[in-house]
Symmetry: C2
């Protein structure tokens, strides 16, 4: 964040029916799946090239790549590599959550490498992944362990981002339920996140276990910060979902890198409102968000 002077995360949610003009018309041969995957890859590359310089990370939404099958998974791998080459961190929006051996296998797929009798199969080696805490602490631990092993192995820090209070209206159904013991379900998730991250606080004061806190309910951020003083907050919901960068200041109280602001549709579709070239419009919108957040967190 300090190096790039940016807290903006470029969301990659490619819908094959809404790619940038030209991406679906590139020369490409083979099956429908192959041609669709090539077009999606071209779109993501163009987005990274245009908006990447104003961002600190990319955040591919795994659902979009899985919908393209095996080829989609390989496009995801290529795009992660591309992003890394452009100096960006990779945050996989996976929202995985599963028990013991299955959580371990997801951690391998997304952050590690799989041992096989023929040698290792490389996983995506993401810097961060989002995880779902419904199944409790023992279902999150394999992800945290996976991030720490990857970090140790590659000589960098990796981490997980736990869903604490999501940005959708339906979050109220479960995450906002008041508990008999006092507090609210999401506050309990915040406490779980803080506990898991205690062993992973680095020199910068930030932990390798962060939280997803929807930007659509900024009134929760002060309380969330009290409960998770060391967590990096990923703050989705700015733009199309109604969240505003200006309201996110409490996220940055431990420092500028303590808040990351994903933007996907607002960058990719900026040209639809501004007119002109998609890449120019994306670049301008990413830079506008970067400046806004950087000033706010000063």
């Amino acid at each position: 964040v300090a190096e790039r002077e940016s807290q903006i995360v470029l969301g990659l949610d490619p819908d094959p029916m809404a790619l940038w003009p030209g991406c679906a018309e590139l020369p490409s041969e083979g099956s429908v799946a192959k041609r669709a995957a090539d077009a999606v890859e071209a779109h993501c590359r163009a987005l990274i090239e245009a908006a990447g310089p104003a961002c600190v990370a990319v955040k591919p939404q795994l659902a979009r790549f899985e919908a393209l099958g095996g080829r989609g998974w390989e496009v995801l791998r290529t795009i992660c590599k591309e992003a890394r080459g452009a100096g960006l961190l990779t945050i996989l929006d996976a929202k995985r959550g599963d028990i013991d051996l299955s959580a371990r296998a997801y951690a391998t797929a997304l952050m590690g490498e799989l041992q096989t009798p023929f040698g290792p199969v490389k996983g995506l080696k993401a810097d961060m992944i989002t995880v779902n805490p419904l199944l409790g602490g023992d279902a999150l631990e394999p992800f945290v362990a996976g991030a720490r092993e990857l970090g140790a192995h590659e000589g960098r820090r990796s981490g997980v981002l736990v869903l604490v209070r999501t940005s959708n209206p339906g979050a109220a159904d479960v995450e906002d339920l008041p508990l008999a013991s006092g507090g609210i379900v999401w506050e309990r998730l915040a406490a779980l996140t803080d506990e898991l991250g205690r062993g992973g606080v680095g020199e910068c004061g930030l932990s390798d276990v962060g939280a997803v806190m929807g930007a659509t309910r900024p009134e929760h951020l002060v309380r969330a910060r009290e409960l998770m003083p060391h967590a990096v907050f990923l703050l989705p919901g700015v733009g199309a979902q109604g969240g505003r960068v200006e309201e996110l200041a409490p996220a940055f109280s431990p420092g500028r890198a303590a808040g990351l602001i994903p933007a996907s549709r607002s960058i990719a579709t900026a040209y639809l409102t501004s007119g002109g070239d998609p890449a120019d419009a994306a670049r301008a919108e990413a830079e506008r968000l970067r400046e806004l957040a950087w000033r706010l967190s000063a």
Copy 2:
């Protein structure tokens, strides 16, 4: 269930380092990933051939296939087809949960087909998938809609299985929290599951929105049945996790198809305790479980 006289679901959780003898020694060429994927495919095929006849469905754990990358995803597709050809339903253990467009994309990947400018890319078209309800009703609806569209399109019924009370010890951290309004978090998840499924109750009295209820805490099943009278229960945790078929009777009160019992390690590794051929041991263990559950649910 009635046709096959079975409620047993064959779990497919292939670890490349623990495949059946011979699967890793098959002739296979190419990259490490290709050879590992071929070995995993051979293992899954052998398991389906041996244990499938005593089962009603297969349940691939998606994490295991994702760990093999794009080739793993294609093995998953092949295995689903193989299972269907053997007369088995496919239950994808995906535990997905995400908001609006992302949930929709997951539903497309797992149950539908993706529209692209080049034509449709086929998804896995599973009969059922497991989903995570932490994000609330609006995050589950796209999965339910996806299942209903697939069902209408293919002339069969498809459905989702909502995580309500999982089988792991950590489930207590969040799912078992008492609420200020009375009841427990998992009971609220059960109510949400029941609401979502009201519009999808078929002639058989069962809904297309079911629930995952861990077999490790059978004392919850009577209450769960009260809250979800029409739901199919998937009951993981029998065998390695300590659950016992004998304790699952309340799941079957609406009928024999109202409870599905997954078994993975107990079938795949039966030969390690019984000795002899892995396929013979798997067949015998699946048949033993089938008989036990069928008698119990009479």
